[in-house]
Amino acid sequence: MLDQGSNPNLVWPAEGLTHIPDWVYTSEENFKKEREKIFLGNCWNFVALDAEFPEPGSYKRSYVGDIPVIVSRDQDGKINVFENRCAHRGVEFCRELRGKADQFICPYHQWTYGLTGDLIAVPFRRGERGKGGMPADFDMSKHNPKKFNVANRHGVIFASASETIEPLEDYLGPETCEHFDAVFKKGKLKILGYYRNRLNGNWKLYHENLKDPYHATLLHVFLATFKLMVAGQKSAMITDATGRHATAASARDEDLELGEDIAGEMKGAWRDDMKLEDTKFMNYVDEFDSPWTVTMQTIWPNLIVQRELNTLGIRHIVPRGPHALDMYWTMFGYESDDQEMLNHRMRQGNLMGPSGYLGVDDNEAIRFLQEGLRRSFSDRGIVKLDPNNEGNTDTLISEASIRAMYRHYRETMGL
């Protein structure tokens, strides 16, 4: 159906989870509902890493869904998350990406907020020489910006608007925690830098891309050509019980011989003639307590944890309406890294990110996909691979984890 953005019926196809209607990616009305039911609903949203706040007064701009927030460390060392919006007229007052401050002052009328988000000063509150000013009963403590609940697991900070949400550990579930902890419990993180890009695709497509190992063997010629990931190698899609989080895990096997059957199916994703002169950037330093060389975690609703060999980072998904998302990347190593390990992580960074050998492919594919959904005559896609599983699977040729995500999505959204 054309023009679903303005005229969606918002009814899931009768076929069930094997069919995904286009309007989940294109409808403004559905997007508004996602903000309320998902990002501001019963979810823990990623907002920052603890290592970004080395001392009291350290702060950064962040987002819960698409709502701007400030994350700050107060004088007691506690992390606070509150809306970046002045209680007076609504100015988004914190403009620096990151920094250090004693307080936040809205530039418009200098209403002032402490590091915990409390409103602490209103200029001319009593007026000037008996004239003007705020009403006598104006109570500053009733005019704080919206504050979020905060949880921290091994230095990863999450925020929730919900008062009744389960503890973070229960929210993540044991399967997700195991692979999450392999990265974050290993040592004190060292922030190595940032990058950011805008993808012209719906935010859910990014989750789906990482819950879809089928594409990895076909779209990413680089992965296949250099046997970083090929069908037949040891791999798993580990999905939590609710279906919302997943860990795409694979173990590299450089000696793996592809059978003729697999090589035949993958022939379009293969460049026999392609050789690299300098392959050291693809080396793997075995530094994790894990049988997997790669784990890519999709943590609902807005976090990707990347452990691609030794290149580590988080990707913070900020939805920008139904048709776009901003990806904020924070790359890190460990305080214990020596200079050579640091250089290795930097070299290996060529694989991922907005200019990565793998990153470019995904970003382009997601844009092509959104354009197809937005402009076509048909009205749904199909996700039927690996029909006997929903969630966990041990084959790359599977869409089982996408279906599990949409089971959860439909429950949350009442669809």
């Binding site: 993808l199 680089f222 002169e277 960074g349 200019s355 050998y357 970003n363």
Partner: protein, 173 residues
């Protein structure tokens, strides 16, 4: 502020020497832009010395001395590898790119003879069915070798202002 990061320069070049070097750099950058505009990506590493470095760094990292780069090449071999990955493995929509390199500022020459300079760059991107847009603006921090009058890059550090990259960056800048 940015030039402060280059230390220990012997900056006693005469105005005439500076003009001459500036002219050589302008010519070099014009040839560089011409190759990238034509997407002759295999020729791009030829502008560099064998052990040269090439990085593309968001300004937010540069300003905070954080090392993370979009592209990190140590040596010409990594540049050639990037060129062949773009040509043979990366999947992307066709596009035109147009590079404008200007405001060449010669900082000076060090004791070993390397020339340090900065240039502003602007990359315009045109996707086939879209309007042309500014893809990236930034500064090149360059270190050149000069052999028999010919320049070649010992390092080019591209520091970009356009923090929010539109979708992705396929080609080097």
């Amino acid at each position: 502020m940015m030039t402060d990061k280059v230390n220990d320069l012997q900056t006693s070049l005469t105005t005439e020497e500076k003009r001459e070097i500036r002219f050589l750099i302008e010519e070099f950058n014009t040839a560089y832009a011409r190759v990238l505009d034509a997407q002759k990506i295999e020729e791009w590493p030829d502008f560099f010395e064998e052990d040269a470095s090439y990085t593309v760094i968001p300004r937010e990292n540069f300003d905070e001395d954080l090392p993370v780069a979009l592209v990190w090449c140590e040596g010409k071999s990594m540049m050639r590898d990037r060129a062949s990955a773009i040509r043979s493995t990366m999947v992307f929509a066709p596009r035109y790119l147009r590079h404008i390199i200007s405001n060449v500022f010669v900082i000076g020459r060090d004791k070993e003879g390397y020339i340090f300079s900065e240039s502003n760059y602007l990359v315009m991107e045109t996707l086939m069915e879209d309007s042309t847009r500014i893809f990236q603006t930034g500064v090149y921090f360059d270190k050149f070798c000069q052999n028999k009058g010919q320049l070649s890059l010992k390092s080019r550090q591209c520091v970009y202002d356009s923090l929010l990259i539109p979708n992705d960056m396929v080609f080097p800048v």
